[in-house]
């Protein structure tokens, strides 16, 4: 990592509890400029709470700076540089497309209306339509058009493609990458749909029970994790190499190795055991969070550091 990269988000001991339920358990994190970070975790892991704290939507304990500001006390000022799509259903249903363009242009100093109009021209969205008359996919297109026309430093997406069909989902990330993202922007996306963000992300963060249990860059991920589809006769030998996870598929054992832990594991050596490939994020996610919730924290800690 380069030292000159700016910390867009910096949290130390970030904690948030709702009564007895701890949603964020003293999280430390740092997200640098120019990254696309996937925040991945099961339901109730604390993803939305973490994003809400970053966006100044919820008070918290501990230290948190977004673009050098305290989000809770400076939300309105911060929102000049931060854009946010919660999920598909937050645009007010009564508003017309033309009105929402006019309003955002009125209140947002960094909104380029022409740009938004340009994005909308590529869709079937009519200027006079009300949001309630648009399909779910079109509402997302509209919201995305608004957000992409804002010259923000940080874009936060919380399950942005929830409930959309595959065409819109694909299009969503495609336009985000081709028309919006550049190295001066930062995107944080929380999602369940791991497969579709795998090739978009530059960094990965697994969150579980209010803790960040794993984080690495995608470059690191590809170097470090190896999945081997082991031939039946080699299974015992493969297990001896200390895989972090094993699963069965189509009658074969699939072993996941962490080369960061076991440095001497060479790809060539593993290739003698079976087919070698880079695991999907989903496979790693399962391996890290484990099938046995009881000893999850301990196992995950070992992987994370």
């Amino acid at each position: 990592m380069t030292v000159a990269a700016l910390p867009i988000i910096e949290a130390r001991g970030l904690r948030k509890a709702f009564g007895a339920t701890v949603a964020l358990d003293r999280i430390d994190l740092r997200i640098d400029e120019g990254r696309i970070v996937g925040l991945i975790g099961p339901n109730g892991a604390g993803k939305t709470t973490a994003l809400n704290a970053i966006l100044g939507l919820t008070p918290y304990q501990g230290e948190l700076k977004v673009l050098g500001r305290d989000p809770w006390t400076e939300r309105d000022r911060l929102m000049r540089d931060v854009s946010f799509i919660a999920d598909v259903a937050v645009l007010p249903r009564w508003i017309r497309v033309s009105q929402v363009l006019e309003y955002v242009a009125g209140v947002h100093p960094r909104f380029d209306r022409g740009k938004a109009e340009g994005f909308l021209a590529k869709t079937n969205i009519q200027r006079g339509s009300k949001v309630r008359e648009l399909s779910k996919g079109m509402v997302t297109q509209l919201h995305l058009a608004l957000v992409m026309a804002i010259d923000a430093k940080l874009l936060v997406l919380d399950e942005p493609t929830l409930g959309l069909d595959i065409l819109y989902r694909k299009q969503f990330y495609d336009s985000l990458l081709s028309d919006y993202f550049d190295r001066s922007r930062t995107i944080v996306v929380a999602t369940h749909q791991i497969e579709e963000v795998q090739h978009v992300l530059t960094d990965l963060m697994f969150i579980d029970r209010g803790r960040i249990v794993f984080s690495c860059s995608m470059d690191e991920f590809e170097l470090r994790y190896v999945e081997v589809m082991v031939r039946p006769e080699q299974v015992v030998a493969a297990r001896a190499l200390g895989p972090m996870h094993e699963r069965q598929a189509l009658g074969r054992s699939i072993l996941l190795f962490d080369r960061g832990v076991n440095q001497k594991l060479e790809r060539q050596q593993l290739a003698t055991l079976g087919e070698v490939r880079t695991p999907s994020i989903a496979d790693l996610f399962v391996a890290v969070l484990g099938n046995t919730p009881g000893n999850l924290a301990a196992g995950a800690q070992g992987v994370a550091r």
């Binding site: 919820t58 050098g68 929102m79 006019e102």
Partner: protein
Amino acid sequence: MNSQSNAVPGSFDSQRIAPAALSATRPFYWSVRRELWENRSIYVAPLAAASVYLFGFLISLIRLPQKMRTLSALDPAHQHAAVTMPYEFAAGLIMVTTLIVAVFYCLEALHGERRDRSILFWKSLPVSDLTTVLSKAIIPIVVLQLVAFAVTFATQWIMLLLSSAVVLGSGLNVANLWTQVSLFQMSLMLLGHLLILHGLWYAPVYAWLLLVSAWARRAAFLWAVLPWLVIFAVEKVAFNTSHFAAMLGHHFVGGGQAVEPGMSPIIGVQLSSLSGPGFWIGLAFAAIFLAGAVRLRRYQGPI
């Protein structure tokens, strides 16, 4: 990986000079417009009331020539009352309509955005909670009153012109009608009445309703009314008195008495109602309630 060697942490502002330094009033202006887009009842309801009234008035014009002929038999005070009554009735109807709109508007203002989750969209824009709450508070305190005034003003002129046409058509003299109905004076009175009584004197009521709408998860109307009923009931049962109700009654009905149009023909009398402590105590309460609403909105998310 990115390396902006010239940039140091915490210098985001210096990297990019704000393209358009917005004045603080711009988000406020657009937020008020936003309210008008969302709540078309603000002007539709008074217009509808006026239209219905005008329709009824149109039918009543059949009897107008007869009424004008018998008018001279009455003494001057009754003459004036008989002629101006429909005009004051129109103003009253539009006023009541506006009040109802104001109450429902306030109860919905900070509740609806949480119910339909759109608060997450509004909060993703650089508009502070203070700006948002003030843009909602100004609707019943100023905007609705100005709308009520404009609609009443137009309605009364239409009424007067229609009456004049009928009177002329039946070969009578319109001078009597025009001397009795002094629309300019009535309008000035009305504007003072709306802004001072319905706007400022009632401001604590609107602010209270906004506070409840920011707080309640459901049944905002119930929460808005219930505490006052409870205080009233407890006082009644415990001490068999009703000072609390009397106090509120005095403030909102009696306190504004001085500004009732029929009672104070001069605008100065209306303004004099502002010098009493009651008016300022009311405004102080309004400010407290609004501050509470601003704070609540900061904590609240979708429900």
